[in-house]
Amino acid sequence: MSDETDVKQLLSVMATAIQSHTSSNNYAAPLMIGIKTGGAWVANRLHQQLEYKDPLGELNIAFYRDDFSTLGMHPAVSPSQLPVDINDRHIILVDDVLYTGRTIRAAMNEIFDYGRPASITLAVLIDRSNTRELPIQPDIIGKTIAVNAEEHVKLLGPEPLTISIDTVRSTGTQKTG
């Protein structure tokens, strides 16, 4: 079932909020990194809107997940690409749906294997506010949704970007996000 939410509108809201956040904190030349796959789609749009000069970075967190022992290798997603040196840079980390916080934990671990950033700001399109399992909170939010554990929120794309909310019968397996 697809949500009627206008994603374009959310992206505008986010772009404005990011702009405001970076100037009030005096972050010169922030670096944007999107988490594959959905976060990279969102980051792409934001990167264009904000007209950042440095190229967009994309992160594949497959090798940093905490569920390798139970689930094994996921089908291959294309490798991480961070074209710019991240040392001492202010990073805007972008993801599509924030759920338990584990993806962000993995992403931050991976970023730190590339170097030492000056700061990381978390921007998410959708925040599933009532489902966090780790102490991780977003700085920039497109929309907050409170859904049941059986409901699965997904960003479909890359064109057009739409939000889908499906009820899945619990199989007792992974939660991601």
Partner: protein, 326 residues
């Protein structure tokens, strides 16, 4: 082909990597795809991912080898695994411990994976049938039978240069009879759907009924190289002269050495490969080995990525998947 079910768990995921024979095209492709992801790890400042943190990998080398062992070691370390290097000479085992006893001792030390190199064909298969259910076995070369990680890193190299396997003519030159690399290459190339695989060697170095593996046999190097996209050279070991298989290195180089003149018979964008170590002036001329068509050094670095992929794929299964199809 019956028993490659031993390589897969009950969900069809890779549990042991013993031979390229009998694996599906999609499985081989996924090894290559995962290797692409791992290749970028070596280019970062921190050349490590935490994927296999806390796992213990034992390198069981019954045959000495520096290059293969070190690439497996590097691959394991880049995955954050702990590695045990055991160089067990065959005479030690024949005097004392049976192979089974060696394995059980290592299992008692809670190893999660064995990387095995052994002088006898079928040794890796045998070990895979003997180990506890949660342990994965990777074949680093068994006798004349298989060297599957070498074949996959060669496929990775070919894919990087040629993009697709479909229209390729590949020639493998040299001592096919004794070569585990050749056998693994032949199976992989066939599964990945190349147009033609050619074997070029004197009759003494060609195994009986090799055509059954789906290759064309050539005794003439010039004829065999005609129109070829990939040339894979095999190493010639000095023992072959002693076994009455060849008269001399000189004559071998005259008939089967890859020189730049011979290379002209192949396509202009041909790539030249060699599993190493190379015998300059025996199977390959120096100018070709160092020339612009040669991708030999790239093969070495690709080896680390491919071995990381295979290790990650075999170790990353849920405990319920520990049974095999065989």
């Amino acid at each position: 082909m019956t028993g490659n079910k031993i390589q897969l768990d009950t969900n069809g995921n890779l549990k042991h990597f013993l031979t390229t024979e009998g694996l599906s095209q999609s499985l081989l492709r996924s090894i290559l795809d995962h290797a692409e992801s791992f290749a970028s790890v070596g280019e970062r400042a921190v050349k490590k991912v935490p994927l296999l943190r806390g796992k213990t990998i034992a390198n069981l080398f019954f045959e000495p080898s520096t290059r293969t062992r070190t690439t497996f070691e590097l691959a394991a370390k880049r995955l954050s695994a702990d590695i045990l290097n055991l160089n067990i000479s065959t005479s030690a085992t024949s005097k004392g411990e049976t192979l089974s006893d060696t394995l059980h001792t290592l299992e008692a030390m809670h190893c999660d994976m064995f990387v095995v190199r052994h002088a006898n064909s079928g040794a890796a298969h045998y070990i895979a049938t003997q180990v506890a259910p949660h342990i994965s076995v990777i074949n680093a070369g068994d006798g004349r039978h298989a060297h599957p990680t070498q074949a996959m890193l060669d496929m990775f190299t070919i894919r990087r240069h040629k993009k697709t396997f479909e229209n390729l003519r590949v020639a493998i030159v040299g001592d096919i009879l004794h070569s585990r690399v050749a056998r693994s290459e032949i199976h992989a190339l066939s599964t990945l759907g190349v147009l033609e695989t050619r074997i070029i060697a004197p009759q003494t170095l060609i195994p009986k009924d090799v055509e059954n593996l789906g290759v064309q046999v050539f005794h003439d190097m010039d004829e065999g190289l005609n129109g070829v996209d990939v040339v894979m050279m095999l190493r010639l070991q000095k023992e072959r002269m002693r076994g009455a298989l060849l008269p001399s290195e000189y004559e071998y180089f005259q008939r089967y050495g890859l020189t730049s003149k011979r290379l002209e018979k192949a396509k202009s964008d041909v790539i030249v490969m060699h599993p190493g170590p190379i015998n300059r002036g025996v199977e390959i001329a120096s100018d070709v080995a160092d020339g612009e068509r040669s991708v030999i050094l790239q093969q070495v670095s690709h080896g680390i990525a491919v071995r990381m992929a295979v290790m990650a794929m075999t170790m990353g299964r849920s405990p319920e998947d520990s049974g095999t199809l065989a």
